[in-house]
């Protein structure tokens, strides 16, 4: 039984998963040849490695490592502030290039996507592996760094494929070969099986993904809930998990967190930081036409511990001035002057679509309508002249102060290269090659 094939088909459905190799670090290396072949790390403004090039990995740097640790083990490391604007521009291009081949693309994260290429062999006159290869070639060539691709009969297997060989791998797993790959995979390495389930399976003396896949359905259904059952079905070659191709149309929660250095115990400054986060989160709520019923705000202490509180609004809102008023009441309950803080954050939950509700007793709705109109105008002004052109007075301290001291405060290079016609806030939406051009 152990080596029996799990599926006799090759591709009932042909799903590919594409993963950008060391995405952020690669974005940096691809635009500046001076960084090529060097250990490049992004995330300087956070004080930790957010992304690292393969050269940095080879020197023992790991994701999430603190900057001072990195400097010890890899003194030649080039540590850059994150340039999310450029990463996002390149991420969009990544998805657009995949969409040249199929409209069925799920943007899974900034550097990963799934694509359904089922049925395209004839119109494109290529085999499935050939289509996957072509997409990879386009991406590598036009974005200037490599991607790893997995092709399988479903999302779970495609993801095993893209992880199989990195960087720049192309791994094809037809149904009849799934078992060969699963035999070499630990259950926990499978997408959808978390450490909890993995530990449980180990207790049941199931170590490899193949052993799990060979368990009979009745046993799996008895022991697990829906997500794990679906993963088990996909490991057996069935197509269960559909692609979500709608893109992000809505959110179930919205949060904004920002770190600042040096840590501070200045009550007004910290509250201003929190107010700015609330403003930012509200901008996002309004962009998706949402309102929040609940919020959690929190302060991160210098000791890396958190203090926070959950609050409920009397009616759903996306108006920062209202929220800040409510938050201020509770802020002083958790703020302690004798401690230093390094970050603030806000998270909104219980979001609902912003549609006008029934009138309440004190005509609050009418007032809210006026505020809504006001914020609509503010959003338009800020769209035109840049984010935070109009902001609340309470956020001023956060808007005028540098977010970080010393080297952590350096802006990404692109933001310092202003072209005639660009302003401090708004730049041309085309990624820029950096470095001397003569």
């Amino acid at each position: 039984m152990p080596n029996e094939t799990l599926s006799i088909n090759s591709f009932n459905r042909a799903i590919i998963h594409i993963d950008g190799d060391a995405f952020f670090a690669s974005c940096e290396q691809s635009r500046d040849p001076a960084l090529k072949g060097k250990p490049v790390i992004t995330g300087r403004e956070r004080g930790i490695a957010a992304s690292l090039s393969y050269e940095a990995k080879a020197r023992g740097v790991r994701r999430g490592m603190r900057i001072f640790e990195i400097k010890k083990i890899c003194p030649e490391a080039i540590i850059l502030p994150s340039d999310y604007e450029t990463y996002s521009l390149l991420s969009k291009r990544f998805f657009e290039i995949v969409r040249r081949y199929t409209s069925e693309v799920e943007e899974y994260s900034i550097d990963e996507c799934f694509a359904d290429i089922t049925g395209l062999r004839r119109p494109l006159r290529m085999s499935y592996p050939k289509i996957a290869e072509k997409i990879k070639q386009d991406l590598d060539r036009e974005l200037g760094f490599t991607f790893s691709v997995g092709l399988g009969p479903n999302k779970t297997i495609a993801k095993i494929g893209s992880k199989w060989k990195k960087p720049s791998g192309l791994t094809v797993i037809p149904g009849y070969q799934i078992h060969e790959f699963l035999a070499q995979k630990e259950t926990e390495d499978v997408w959808g099986i978390g450490p909890q389930t993995g530990a449980y399976l180990k207790n049941e003396r199931i170590n490899t993904a193949l052993e799990f896949a060979h368990k009979d359905e009745e046993w799996v259904r008895r022991k697990f809930t829906k997500p794990t059952i679906e993963t088990w079905q996909e490991l057996n070659g069935k197509f269960i998990l559909p692609l979500d191709v709608t893109g992000r149309t809505t959110y179930t929660s919205v949060q904004k967190v920002r770190t600042f250095t040096p840590p501070s115990n200045d009550r007004d400054f910290i509250f201003s930081q929190l107010a700015k986060n609330i403003e930012n989160a509200c901008i996002k709520l309004r962009r998706y036409n949402l309102r929040a019923r609940n919020a959690t705000f929190f302060l991160k202490l210098q000791s890396f511990r958190y203090a926070g509180m959950e609050i409920q609004f009397s009616r759903p809102t996306a108006i920062p001035s209202e929220i800040i008023n409510v938050v201020e009441k509770y802020f002083d309950q958790i703020f302690d002057q004798s401690l230093s803080y390094r970050a603030t954050g806000i998270a909104f939950f219980k979001l609902e679509e912003d549609v006008t509700k029934q009138l309440d007793l004190f005509c609050e709705v009418l007032r809210a309508k006026g505020l809504k109109k006001l914020y609509h105008s503010i959003d338009e002004i800020n769209d035109k002249f840049g984010k935070h052109t109009v902001h609340l007075g309470v956020s001023s301290l956060a808007n005028s102060a540098l977010q970080h001291e010393k080297e952590r405060g350096d802006a990404p290079l692109r933001k310092t290269l202003q072209i005639k016609g660009e302003n401090k806030r708004q730049r041309i939406g085309i990624p820029m090659f950096i470095g001397a051009v003569t």
Binding site: P33, K36, R141, G144, L417, I419, K420, M432, F433, T438
Partner: protein, 164 residues
Amino acid sequence: MGLCKFKSINSVTRLVKKMIEAELISKDEKGRLLPKKLFGETKILGSITAGFPSPAEEELVDTITIDEFLISNKEATYMLNVSGDSMIDAGIRSGDIVLVERGKASKDGDIVIAEVDGKWTMKFLEKLNGKTILMPANKKYKPIIPKEELIISAVVISVIRKYH
């Protein structure tokens, strides 16, 4: 005469005279009456184009934006700030923005972006008896003859210079 129950031709003449004065009718050279503005018609003041259906939809279908004009492959286009005067004779100055297409096959005579010693360089690509060289457009500079493999990253598509 029957229509207005006039009793004499004189009355008719008087009415006609009034109507001519009011520019409602006129007389031709033989004395016959010609209608002028009798039926509430509009006076033509000269030709204007208003009144036609809005041109936006139909007529603007075949126009392209300045973006589309300057860029051919959107996903592969990058911009780059020019410094130095090595391409001055090709009309590319320091401070110009060039739009380049990454991964495009380059041919003889293209202006290309190549990677040389960890830097970008912009030069004319020349292919001479199977050899590739990078030619500056300025006599002060020497051609670059790559010792090893030459990495050509992009081809210049357009140049932008903004004055105001």
